[in-house]
Symmetry: C2
Subunit: 355 residues, 2 copies
């Protein structure tokens, strides 16, 4: 078993180092190999996703990813910007199923923007399609408008699209996941406006015939954005397209108040996966040793479970994280009065000790 | 001056009746003419936006709109569904500038899902472009995929697009609005992925040169969905496209906890406008006399100010609404212990009395 370790930019290096520390402490048999990605790779090799990094990622069973991006790359041409690395990896490896749990930890409920009673015990899973939709649809670009409100004007355009098999496979992933949880799937669309999402709704409804033990509900994306704020615990599994999933999964993660705790997984049909924290590269606090490594450590746990067939080791990590929280250890982002403030490395060490 | 009154479906009739009551009490000189729209128009005339209704709307200086939609029309062909009326009106009248204030009323702060300190005094204005983007872009439809992940498969697609003048005019609306408020505009895009929104960002940045007294910030839509939950008061004016605006304006309105209080305006370049509450047709409570008419009454106030040049009368209505709230009158959606529960008509009467 081989893990590609891609720390990336900003706090990426620090948080991935702690996850690696935890993985090593498990004493399992796998190889880890590190490569640059994002801005770091652009500096080192002139491209955010160099050939050698892509090759390593493709050959690995799983990728442990930190984060990419920094304001200083904002002026680069788009193909050279750090986030292209992540889009490139998703596309090259066919990582179509993105798992984004939004969990509110008991000890951190107070950190939420929402009233405690609305988020205490929150546990929803957003499944975002990750290789289709308007993210990759062709054609796209700039041109002169030939119709619309201002024919003759300069315009930019993109193509939203979903094919039947793309929708079918992500719907199956959602129904299978719901079966192991609350047995309810909310499919989010904009069928009242978009052809793509009327089709999405139709296909999800068809796939549902094979999963009659799971409840299926359809919801417009604007309403979903509202219901997440109003009554988040009414959701179990949410399945949606790439664009809506981008927005809703971030909204949902922020509801928990502790985005520094939330892992994510992006899988292909061979269970190869990319595992990364839900938060970004936070260049403002990079190098200070204060970043929260728990989302990355929990992503490593997801990796063990989903891609490396080590469910038991995954559970050990998750239990260890619960334990350090119970011990009152907190990085600054989740610190509150009466708890003990620790840095990135101390937090990693504490998890290792708690294993 | 002529107002087209389009009550629509569900609670639409009840809430519009109260707004009309308030308008009449002002003793101003304008004509009002009522016409069916949405499901009601489909029942009466076989189309959600009959020719006669469209003609009335076009000739009027302003449209007072209730709400459209009901589950029972879900099985109709898309062109016959109630919401097509609203899309049709926006398009036919060129109502490109949608104003969606998200205001947290002092007396209703407790009704928010968010902690009071995060929303007390909240006053943000979302300006959503309303006649472009993927809502109206051509081509769209179903076809056989010729490339992508599954060539040969059935697929559906839509076209996202924005032309330079479309972006310019909505950007100007936003900067002008910000000048009269907090002097800050947040332009929401997804420039890291979409050609359309890289162009959006570029054009907004250019237009900003004419408004150097206003601060301009750019934010990705996923981050905006998070920041609205984390720190909503950091926003002043948000400007964005039709699709992102649909999602974010609904998310923002729900933050206030009292969507029954929020008006909206959709204007064209001749200041003709459509005014409607931010909430929907709520078929579950229709006909029961319990719907909150205040969002519609406040929409009528916006109408007086923006389209009918009656700013003073608008202020009178707004003051009257503040007064009934201070008196402790509440429809069930905003009721809390210690206040007086009233029905739709009683609330309308109280506003008239408070004028
Ligand atoms: C960096 C960006 C391209 C990416 C996305 O939009 O998918 C990010 O927001 C995410 O959600 O992983
Ligand atoms: C009914 C629907 C087409 C409409 C939209 O998406 O614009 C509604 O959600 C709105 O925001 O006014």
């Amino acid at each position: 078993m081989k893990i590609a370790v891609l720390p990336g930019d900003g706090i990426g290096t620090e948080i991935v180092a702690e996850a690696v520390k935890v993985l090593k402490a498990l004493d399992l048999k796998f190889e880890m190999e590190t490569a640059p990605v994002g801005g770091a790779a652009y500096e080192a090799a002139g491209h955010p996703l160099p050939e050698s990094t892509l090759k390593l990622a493709k050959e690995a069973d799983a990728i442990l990813f930190g984060a990419v991006g920094d304001w200083k790359y904002d002026t680069l041409d788009r193909p050279l910007r750090p986030e292209q690395a992540i889009l490139g990896l998703r596309k090259a490896l066919g990582l179509f199923a993105n798992f984004r749990p939004a969990i509110c930890y008991e000890q951190l409920t107070h950190a939420s923007s929402l009233k405690p009673e609305l988020v205490a015990g929150l546990d929803i899973l957003i499944i975002r399609e990750l290789t289709g939709d308007i993210y990759f649809g062709q054609p796209r670009g700039r041109r002169t408008a030939v119709d619309g409100h201002f024919p003759g004007a300069e315009e930019a355009f993109d193509t939203m699209r979903y094919s039947r098999p793309e929708i079918e496979r992500i719907a199956r992933v959602a129904f299978e996941a719901a079966r192991k949880r609350g047995k309810k799937v909310t499919s989010v669309d904009k069928a009242n406006v978009l052809e793509t999402f009327q089709f999405w709704k139709d296909v999800v409804t068809e796939v549902h015939k094979d999963y009659q033990d799971v409840e299926l509900e359809h919801m417009y994306v604007d309403n979903a954005a509202m219901q997440l704020v109003k009554k988040p615990k009414a959701f179990d599994v949410i399945v949606t397209g790439n664009m809506f999933g981008d927005i809703l999964s971030d909204e949902a993660s922020m509801l928990t108040g502790s985005i520094g705790m939330l892992p994510s997984a992006s899988l292909n049909d061979k269970k190869q996966g990319l595992y990364e924290p839900s938060h970004g590269s936070a260049p403002d606090i990079a190098g200070k040793g204060v970043a929260n490594p728990l989302a990355t450590i929990l992503s490593a746990a997801m990796m063990l479970r989903f891609s490396l067939n080590q469910g038991e080791a995954a559970a050990r990590i998750e239990a260890a994280v619960q334990k350090v929280l119970a011990q009152g250890l907190r990085t600054p982002d989740i610190y509150s009065e009466g708890t003990t403030k620790v840095g990135t490395a101390q937090m990693g060490d504490a998890v290792v000790k708690a294993l």
